[in-house]
Structure formats: C-alpha cells, structure tokens
C-alpha cells in the first residue's frame, strides 16, 4: 500500500538513543549511578549497608510526597500545599490520638491519616476545578489556609510524647545490622510505605483507565473533556490522591521523628517538586513516570546526604546543592535535545 510510507516509525526502528530520548528518567538513573560511583570512590563508607539503609529511610517522606506531586504534574497541575496538608493531618491526628483515643490501633491511625489527607486534597481539587485557575495559585492559597488553620486554631505546642503505638511503629525494624563500632543500623517497617505507594501509583497509572485519564488531562484538558473524561473526577482524584499520600507521609514523619512538630514539613515543597522534575516529569503536564519519580527522589536524597561524607564544609553545602540541581537539569535537557532532533522537527 502507498499508505505505509507516510508512517515514519516503520522506517527507523527505535535504537538506544531513541529509547533514551523517550524515557528521560533513564538519564537521571545514569546520573544517579555516576554520583554514587564518584562518592564511593571518594569515601568507600558510602557503600556500607548502614549508609544505604539510612539513605533509604531518609527518602521515605520525600518519596511519598513526590509520588503525589507526580500524579498532579501528570494531570497538568502543580501543588505546593501538600506539605501543609501533611502537617495539618499529622498534628491534628496525633493530638486526637493522645487526648481522645489513646488506644487506637496503628493501622487505624494510618487509615485516618490517609483519609484526612484525602479530604484536604479533595478540597484542593474541588477548588481547582470550580475556580478554573492554575493549580499553583489555588494551592498557594490553600497552603496558607491549611497552615493558618493548624497554627491558629489547632495548636503550636510540640508533642514530644507520642502515643506508644506510634513510637513503636517508628521503631519497629525490618532489618538490623551491627557495624564495626557496635552501632546498629535498622531499616524500619515504615520504609515499606514508600515502595508500596510507588507500586500502587504505578498500577493506577499503567493499569487503570484513571491513569490514562490523568495523562489525557495533562496532555490537553479540553480535549480530554470532550472525549468523555470527566474533568471533575480527574481533578478530584489526583488532588485527593496526592493529599492521601501527604497525609500518610505526615504520620510517617511523626512516627519516625518521635515528635509532632506543627512547624515541620512546610517549606520543603519546592525541593520535592525539583525531585519529580528531575525524574523526567515536565512541569507542563502529561509526562513522567513512577520509575522516574523514584529515581529523582533518590537522586535528591543522595546528594543531600553525602555532603558531609564527601567532606564539603558547611558553608559550601548550599552552593554545591544549587550547582548540582542546575548541572543535572542542564545535562538532562541537553541530552534530551541531542537525542531528539528529528522528533522535534516533525512536531513543528
């Protein structure tokens, strides 16, 4: 048939370069590997199981946040209120358990945290949908609102004595190591929330209609609406999903820290967004992957946690992290561009 010739894909089979261009998260993965190797060469202590486990547990809260942010970015929005959601849920819930229901089992506490976050997230989604304004703006508003509610009406006192079941959850260990100097390193149970959430997110995005609807909305919301993807549902879902993950992250944060500090978390949102963007999701929506997001989170965690190990003095640490973000982004963009010239031309 004469028809087939106009199909560009049959002519050139996707090679390695092509794969790289289509899956920008592979670039971050390479970057991650390069950094790890470099650090390990400078200080072999980096490769000790203890250090890796520490890295893993340090990534949990950021990771949970990041998966939610990824969902929202994929739908073409952005969220800066998730830290406030986490702070509000975790503090209100800890207070509730302490004062009202001290015997509440941990599983129920986790469920309530997720539910609380989901409700707050759904408020975001509802506002974004009904006000028809860029999500960034709405969520700046709700960030102030949620944080204001927390600090003005719920409380500012640090809760140092957690309910025992929460302390136990924070301490319960999955794996134990004893290092040379007699120190023990533990991988706590709560670490599992991150991979579990990642798998759940992957399932939603790749195996349900909702995942495709989210990408569709991120690609072009008007078109998605016309094709029958109910925008209200999509908005409510992504924001509620991100809210639920934020609620979970909040309570994990409390249990891991063994204190509920209402001033915590808010202020870290931009870093989380950076992690997701480094993971290959574009700020304009409709792109990204769970794998990339996890890679981005690991990348940021590693960079933040090896500064002392590598021997960078405190004064220089911000310069190094800032320069790293810029270099990584530049590397990322130029790689993508080099590998994609034909595709870009065609898209014109």
């Amino acid at each position: 048939m004469t028809m087939t010739r106009s199909d560009p894909q049959t002519a050139a089979r996707p090679g390695l370069a092509e794969t790289f261009a289509r899956r920008p998260e592979l670039v971050s993965l390479c970057l991650l590997v390069v950094i790890c190797v470099a650090v390990a060469v400078i200080n072999p202590a980096f490769l000790s199981p203890g250090s890796l486990i520490d890295m893993g547990r340090a990534s949990v809260v950021t990771g949970l946040f990041a998966l939610g942010v990824f969902a929202i970015l994929a739908a073409g929005g952005i969220d800066v209120s998730f830290t406030a959601i986490a702070a509000l849920t975790m503090y209100a819930l800890t207070l509730f358990v302490l004062n009202v229901a001290p015997g509440l089992p941990m599983a129920v506490i986790l469920l309530i945290a997720v539910a609380g976050g989901t409700v707050l997230g759904a408020i975001n989604g509802w506002l974004v949908h009904t006000l028809r304004v860029a999500a960034l703006i709405v969520t700046i508003g709700t960030q102030y609102l949620f944080r204001g509610i927390l600090l003005a009406f719920i409380g500012t006192v640090w809760l140092m004595e957690l309910p025992p079941q929460m302390t136990a959850f924070g301490k319960a260990s999955l794996l134990d190591f004893t290092t040379a100097n007699g120190a023990t390193v533990t991988l706590p149970w709560y670490f599992l929330t991150f991979p579990a959430a990642a798998v759940l997110t992957w399932l939603i995005f790749n195996r349900t209609l909702m995942g495709r609807a989210i990408f569709a909305t991120g690609g072009n919301p008007e078109v998605a609406a016309r094709l029958g993807y109910d925008q209200r549902t999509v908005h409510l879902f992504v924001f509620a999903f991100a809210g639920g993950l934020a609620g979970l992250a909040g309570i994990v944060h409390v249990c891991a820290n063994r204190m509920a500090n209402p001033f915590d978390l808010v202020g870290t949102e931009i870093g989380v967004i950076a992690a997701v963007v480094l993971g290959g999701a574009r700020i304009t929506g409709g792109t990204g992957s769970v794998f990339g997001t996890v890679t981005g989170v690991l990348l940021i965690t590693v960079v933040n946690n090896v500064l002392v190990l590598v021997g960078i003095p405190s004064t220089w640490q911000r310069v190094v992290v800032g320069a790293f973000i810029l270099l990584a982004a530049a590397f990322f963009v130029t790689r993508r561009r080099k590998l994609q010239p034909q595709i870009r031309k065609q898209a014109i």
Binding site: D54, M160, E161, N181, D264, V308, L309, T315
Partner: protein, 306 residues
C-alpha cells in the same frame, strides 16, 4: 499605664511558650500595665522586623525583643529609641542600638561549661564535633568557640567537621548526625547549640545503639529531652529558664519606663537575676548579666519541669 510588648523570635515553639508564661506572670504582678507577647509565624528575621516596626508605629511604650538576628533590627531600634520607645533585648550581647541587653549568663562561660561536661564524659579523649543553629547565630558561635577553647586543655580531644548547621530542625540534625556517625565511626562526643539539636543527635545516637557510648552535651529543654536523658543518649543539657528571662526583660523595661537607674549587683526580683552584673554594652546601652545558667543530667532534670 504603659505598654510593654515582648517580641520573640518565633511564636509557638516550647522555648517561647515557656517565656510567655513568664510574661503572663509579670502581667499578673503588674495589673495596671498592658503586657503581652507576640512573634512571627516562621523563623524569618524580615517578619520579626515587620512586627517590631508595626509595634513602634502603633506607639507601644516599651519593647522587650529577642532578636532573630540582632543586626537586622539595628535600624528600627535606633528609630524607635529616637521616637522615645524603650528597647530591651535578650540573647543579643552585640546589639548596638538597645538600652539594655539582658543575658542569663556570660556566653563564654556557658560554652566552656558545656564543653567541660562533655570532656568529663569523654574522659578527655577522642573525636568530637559541634552543631550550631546556623553559622550566623552569634551566641551559638560563641558557645562552640568557648568550647573549642576549653577542649584545648585536653590534648586527646580531636575536633572533626565542626560547626554543622542544624537550622534548629530536629529531623535535619538527625540526618546529619547519622552521616557524621558513619563518616567517623570512632566519634565520642557532640556539643550542640540550638534547642532542638539534642533531640536530633540524641535520636541518632539512640537508634544506633550508642546511648552511653557516645557523649552528647548541648542546649536543650528538660521536658522534650527527658526520654533521651533517661536512655543515656543525651549526657547533659544546658539551658537557662526562658520564663525567668522573660520576666527579667519586662522588669528592666518597667524600671526604664519609670525612669529608674540600673546598678551593678542589683536584684531584679527574678530568680537567677538576684545579683546582676552590669557592664557597658557594645553601643550606648548596658549589658545586664544574670547567673541563670543550669546544667542538668539524668539525675537532676526532673527539678526543672518545663
């Protein structure tokens, strides 16, 4: 008859909640005056500056301020004093534009005392490191500076990777402390400065199963530190009672409002400030130093429940 407003670094945190109890106590003792405490919602010197500026504009008679960053407030303090507002500060012994700066103790002595306690625990030997809230925090730098000075008496003590910034964030401190424990498996001591540092470092030590093996001495409050003190993850905490400091500031402000003279060795009527030292400050103002230093450990912290 006269308003005194206390402006703290940040409202809501335990330290300044404790200070507020002092301010309230002082208000009860002086029902004819209008006395209150305010502070910004986040740790940002710009926000504190705004509050001070609005209070000056509102016509408050006296301000008792715990500066987030003394330098940033110099300008507004000067203008306020030109306008006749009474300015008293706390934890700012380098403040140029203040009438009186109230210090609970001599900073160098405090830093040396913390370090002496640490050295005792370490047996005068081994690697140790220091944490400060931020490199710009003058008192913290004074404390660790005095600590370093003190450590020189013990040739066996080796300072490694000093002056880590904690930003008074327990979680960040925890991560950093873990990293240090990893980099220096043989580390023996931590001297910390900001109020939350002991919590973060203490947790790292406890989780590593090193409680009692690694020494930790730093500024902290008894209540939050209790469990770590009990487990031995924190060796000792040093502090002064913010309640008393708040009362002392307000007492000084009241005296200035009434036009009274401050003298060396006088009694402010507040515990720890019964015989204060009065010196010339860095600027026009005076430096008023009490003896409110407290070092507490496992056995003694229960005497200070706040």
């Amino acid at each position: 008859e006269g308003t005194i407003t206390t402006v703290v670094k940040i409202s809501g945190i335990p330290w300044f909640d404790r200070m507020e109890t002092g301010v309230e106590l002082f208000a009860e003792q002086n029902p004819d005056m209008s006395i209150s405490q305010v502070g910004p919602a986040s740790a940002d010197s710009a926000q504190q500056l705004q509050i001070v500026q609005d209070l000056v504009a509102k016509g408050t008679d006296a301000l008792a301020v715990v500066p987030m960053d003394p330098a940033i407030l110099e300008g507004i303090f000067k203008r306020a004093m030109d306008r006749g507002t009474i300015i008293v500060t706390h934890e700012a012994d380098n403040q140029m534009n203040t009438m009186v700066d109230v210090e609970a103790f001599d900073n160098a002595e405090y830093g040396a005392a913390l370090n002496a306690r640490l050295a005792e625990c370490m047996g005068g030997e081994g690697k140790w490191t220091t944490f400060v809230g931020s490199l710009g925090s003058r008192t913290h730098m004074q404390w660790v500076g005095a600590g370093e000075e003190n450590a020189k008496q013990h040739p066996g003590m080796e300072l490694v990777d000093p002056n880590n910034e904690s930003f008074d964030d327990a979680n960040g401190t925890y991560e950093k402390a873990k990293e240090i424990l990893r980099k220096h498996p043989d580390i023996k001591g931590f001297q910390t400065s900001a109020g939350n540092d002991v919590l973060g470092v203490g947790r790292a030590i406890e989780e590593a199963g090193l409680a009692g093996k690694v020494c930790l001495v730093g500024t902290g409050l008894p209540n939050p530190s209790a469990s770590y003190l009990d487990s031995g993850a924190i060796t000792a905490i040093g502090f002064w009672d913010p309640q008393k400091a708040g009362m002392a500031m307000n007492a000084v402000a009241k005296m200035l409002l009434e036009g009274k003279e401050l003298t060396d060795g006088m009694d402010l009527g507040v515990e720890g400030y019964n015989s204060v030292t009065l010196k010339d400050g860095p600027g026009e103002g005076k430096l008023l130093i009490g003896n409110g230093m407290v070092l507490a450990d496992k056995d003694t912290y229960k005497d200070y429940l706040f």
